[in-house]
Structures are given as C-alpha cells and as structure tokens.
Amino acid sequence: MTALLEVSGLQIGLDTGVPLVHDVSLSAAPGELVGVVGESGSGKSLTLRAVAGLLPAGVRVTGGSVRFDSQEVLGASEPNLRALRGGSIGMVFQEPMTALNPTMRVGAQIAEGARAHLGLSRRAADQRASELLERVGIRDAAKRSRLYPHQLSGGLRQRVMIAIALAGSPRLLLCDEPTTALDATVTAQVLELLDELARDLEVAIVLVTHDLGVVSRACHRVVVMYAGRIVEEGTTDAVIRRPAHPYTLALLRAVPTRSTTIDDLVPIPGALPGPGAPLDGCPFAPRCALVEDACRAKAPPLIEVEGRRTACRRSEQLRRPREVVLDR
C-alpha cells in the first residue's frame, strides 16, 4: 500500500526561531486510521495544521517535507493549497461549538465547500449538504440543514463538522481532537463513523488526540509525540500492548480502565519541557524512571524494535506492563 500522505523530517518553529516540532515523520495510506497522541503542547496539532498549511500566525514550517499523493505541499502556492484544502484534504476540528460559524445555517456551511470544489450549483450543493448529513448519520437531514449550530447538540455538531470535511470528497481527513468535547457515548459513535468512512470511502485519516482510549479503539497505527518529537511509532496493537518507550508506558498507566482504582493510576512526575528549552539528551529524561547518564548526554534516535520504532535506548529494560487492556 503506498502512502497518500507522507510527512518527513518536518520541523516547525516560531517566527522568532524557537523550535516547536523536531523532525517528525509519519504517513497514512488510503483506508488507514493513524493516531497521533501526546500531551497538550507536544506539537501534535501543529503537525496536523502544517499539513493543511493552516499554522497560526507567528508559527511556520522550518524544514522537512509534506507530500500528498506524491506532490510536495510545503511551499505550494496559495491557490494550489486552497484547491487541496476542503477538496482532497478535509479537516475536522476539536470544538464543534466554536468551529462552526454561529450565524450561518449548517447546511450552507457544508454546501459552500461543495460549491467551491465540485463546482456545484447552489441547488445541487444544498442537495449534497443534505446527503452528507445523512451520510454522517443525521436523520431528517433536509430539515436539520436549515438549523443553526446553537440549535444542535454537541454530537450533532461534530457530525456536521465531519460532513463539512467530507463536502469536497476528500481522500485524506485530518482530525484535530475530534472527540475531546464529546461524552463517551457520542465519542464511540463518532469513532465508528470515522472507521466506516475509512473502510467505505478508502479515506486516509490522521487523528490527533490526547486520549489513548480513542487510539486503541479506532486507529490502526499510532504515533506517540513528546515535546515536539516522535518517541514511539508502530501498530496500535504493538504499541499499546507492549510499549517500547517509557513515556508511552507512563501514558498507559495514567489511563483509567474499568478495573482500575484511584491507587492504580500513576501520574507522570514533572512537566513537559517548555518550547525552546535547551535539551541535549532525551527530552523525556527529566521525568523518566529508567534514566541513566547516557540518556542525558545524547538524544536517542528512533530505532527499530520488535516491528515498531522507538526513541529509547533502554526499551528492552521496560518491564512488561501488567496486561494493559484498555476499554475496547
């Protein structure tokens, strides 16, 4: 399977020169769901935004390449980028309350993307908006497309958000914390929908989240980010069952499951290093239980271990976690 999205060596920094994301590489193939997990500030959302050329003001890509369908996206002209955005690349954002225009009917918000990319007439675009609402599981679509965002529940709003992302028939969906603002039941429904889209429409999906539960339920592969770097990457099964990086393990231990009590949960001591903090060694070293002098001296490269990549020199020393089973 050839990758549809190929990010390699991506570097992102502030205009002032402070680096935020270091050497991130990831890929996604058609029909594949790739999860990117990490704490707030790990650079996962910036990576996603850089792919669509939608970095916030003051932040820019400082190196590397982003290829979509073998075409370089970085440095592409604004018209070319506009053709990709909303066309071949759809985006789903975190907070469906604030990410939808409050003064526009939801149908019109879906239709405008369809008009811009598929060259549809107003009527045909409205028709498509209703179809897409139905596609994402909203009943009474024609009627609901006349409503405003504040008249819909959080779950319905997130479905509208996905319908917007689908309006231009994308081949790649970039989802930025799509379930964070939703309750557990709705989260499950939205993940199921994403899974369906990947299977039925052969859409490649990159899903950024801080929730390992979401990753374990939905994603085929997972990329774990820490302090703007990839620390571990592999199939979801491998990474979650036998983490090969102490940070991944620590994250797993901080996730409550059905059988955990409050005493079983182990918080990770310390905090993320701030952006631009001088780090010679492994960025996780100050918080790591397995740290030794060599870790602080030189940042470990990503190495292949048991069919996945990890940026830990001591991965073989990691205790097998007592069968970490997340709610599936």
């Binding site: 980028l81 990709l84 909303g86 985006m91 954002f93 939808l100 409050p102 811009a116 405003y148 309006a167």
Partner: protein, 313 residues
C-alpha cells in the same frame, strides 16, 4: 408576529423614558429666564396685557399643574398650540419631521457606505499601508467638529463647485437626494470613523476564531472567508456602535440643520428656544426622544436578524 410584539413591548418600555425626558426639559426650560407672553407682545406691552395672555396660555398656573396639563393633552394626541407660530403644534411638527428623518436615514446609509468598505480594507491586511491610511483619515475626521466640516463642505462642494445645493430641502425625491447630500455627508463623516474603528477591531477578533480556521480549511478564497464568515459576525457588535452613534446624532442634527438652512425639527427647536415657546420645545424633544427609541428598536431587530442566537421577543 413575535417581531411585532417585540416592537410593541419595546415602545411601551420606552414610554417612561419619553415622559422623563419631557419632564426634564420642562424643568430646564423654566429655569431659563424669559417669558413667552412678554416675548409675543413686545417690550412695550402693559403688564396687564401680558398677565392676560399668560392667563390665556395657562402660564399663571403652578409648574406641576402646567406639566400635568401638557401630559393630559398629550394622552389625547394633542401637542398643544405654539405661542410663537400661533398654530397647532401637531401639523407643525409633521411638516418638519420628514426633513429630519431624511437627514438621519441618509446619513446612516452614507456612514455605512463609507465605513463598511474602509473597515474591510483595513482589516484585510492589518498593519498594512491601507490600514494606516484608513486609521489616519478616520482619526482626522473624528477630530473635525461638524459645524466646521459642514461649512467647509457647503463652501467647497456646494457654493464653489456647484456640485450639490448648499442649502434647502429640495423638491421631490431626486431633489431631496441631491439637496440632502451635503448635510447627510457632514453627519456621516462624524459617525463613519467610529463605525470603522469598531468594525475593524471586531473583524480582527473574529478572524482569530475557530470557525474562521474551519472556513479556511474549506479552501475558500480570502474574500469568501472575509465576506461570509468574518464580516457578518463582526456586523453584530458594529451595529450597536452604529445605533448609539445614530441616537447621538439625532440631537446633533440641530447644528447641521442650521448650517444648511434645513426646515427640520432641529431648526424648529432652536426657534422654540429663542422665542421661549415652551410647547414647541417640549413637543420636539418628545419626538426626538421617540426617534432615539425607534432607532434602537430597529437596531435590535437587525441584530436579531444578523445573529440567529439572539432571539427577538
């Protein structure tokens, strides 16, 4: 239907405000020295004649009694009789109201025609030279007093170039449109800077909101994002700034009407004050207060139409 009920309710709520304003004006005008009867009869009239006229006009009654009679007549729709024009005030106000309405509506439209595009230009590239130029011009315009700006416009665009009439109301719709241009422009140039600043700031705030990122993620053009997503959401707060400024210049029209010799309510008010015509002053105040209330009701209706989250009821 709900909109109608809303208007009715708001008018009802506005009633105490109107009464309060007339009471205030009533008290204030009686603080000013001067006697309408003496004014009407001239300095050589006998005290007996003045007293007789005062009695006929009810001016010899106590102030609370006089105000009570004014409000009582008002309830029957009678604004009373002007002591200086010697005619019923109702028709007098009705003749002059269209001039002032023209001025308010025309000036508001011009202010929007000037303000919205300039705010758009400024907000498209904040910090650019267009933004700087717009800011400079609007601060300069804000600093110009309307009596001076009005005279300048009348002189340059009216008298010297002859492009527009420098005074009068004109005849017919086209006549009004050209005659009222300079006075309306004078008022609009005072309001537009406020509108520009409010809209520009609001658009820059809206531009950082999540739904604008969503709009950009749809691959819309810069202009499409600006028009469909940023401008519309920025108009809501912009509208309240406009409503406040319009309410404010309803009073300021007095100066502009004087400069351009417009036979409007402001002009009537001035004459009423100078001839101590209490009834006229009170009636015009009443009408202007009502106008302010109506302007605000219209603004609220428009806000409800622009922002579906705001329910008009």
């Amino acid at each position: 239907m709900t909109a109608l009920r809303f208007v009715a309710r708001r008018l009802l709520i506005g009633l105490p405000v109107v009464i309060g304003v007339t009471l205030l004006v009533f008290v204030l005008i009686h603080l000013v020295p001067g006697n309408p009867a003496r004014n009407a009869l001239g300095t050589r009239a006998t005290p007996q004649a003045v007293a007789a006229l005062e009695h006929r006009w009810g001016l010899d009654k106590s102030l609370p009694e006089q105000y009570g009679r004014f409000v009582g007549r008002l309830a029957t729709g009678d604004l009373g009789t002007s002591t200086s024009y010697n005619e019923a005030i109702g028709p007098l106000v009705a003749r002059r109201l269209p001039v002032t309405l023209w001025l308010i509506v025309y000036a508001t439209i011009l202010a929007c025609l000037i303000g919205v595009p300039l705010a758009l230009l400024a907000a498209t590239r904040p910090g650019g030279w267009v933004d700087g130029a717009v800011r400079f011009v609007s601060v300069a315009a804000l600093g110009l007093p309307s009596f001076w700006l009005g005279i300048l416009l009348a002189e340059w665009l009216g008298v010297r170039s002859g492009l527009f009439p420098a005074s009068g109301f004109g005849e017919g719709f086209a006549g009004h449109l050209s005659s009222m241009f300079l006075p309306s422009l004078t008022v609009a140039l005072g309001v537009a800077p406020l509108l520009i600043r409010a809209l520009r700031a609001e658009m820059l705030t809206v531009a950082t909101s999540d739904y604008v990122v969503t709009a950009r993620s749809k691959g819309l053009s810069r202009w499409g994002v600006m028009r469909r997503h940023i401008l519309r959401n920025a108009l809501v707060p912009g509208l309240s700034v406009l409503a406040v400024s319009v309410s404010f210049f309803v009073g300021a029209t007095i100066v502009v009407e004087k400069i351009f010799a417009l036979p409007g309510l402001g002009d009537l008010m001035l004459q009423g004050i100078s001839s101590r015509d209490f009834q006229v002053v009170q009636s015009v105040t009443l009408v202007l207060a009502l106008l302010v209330i109506v302007v605000n009701i219209i603004a609220d209706l428009a806000t409800g139409w622009l922002d579906p989250r705001i329910e008009v009821r």
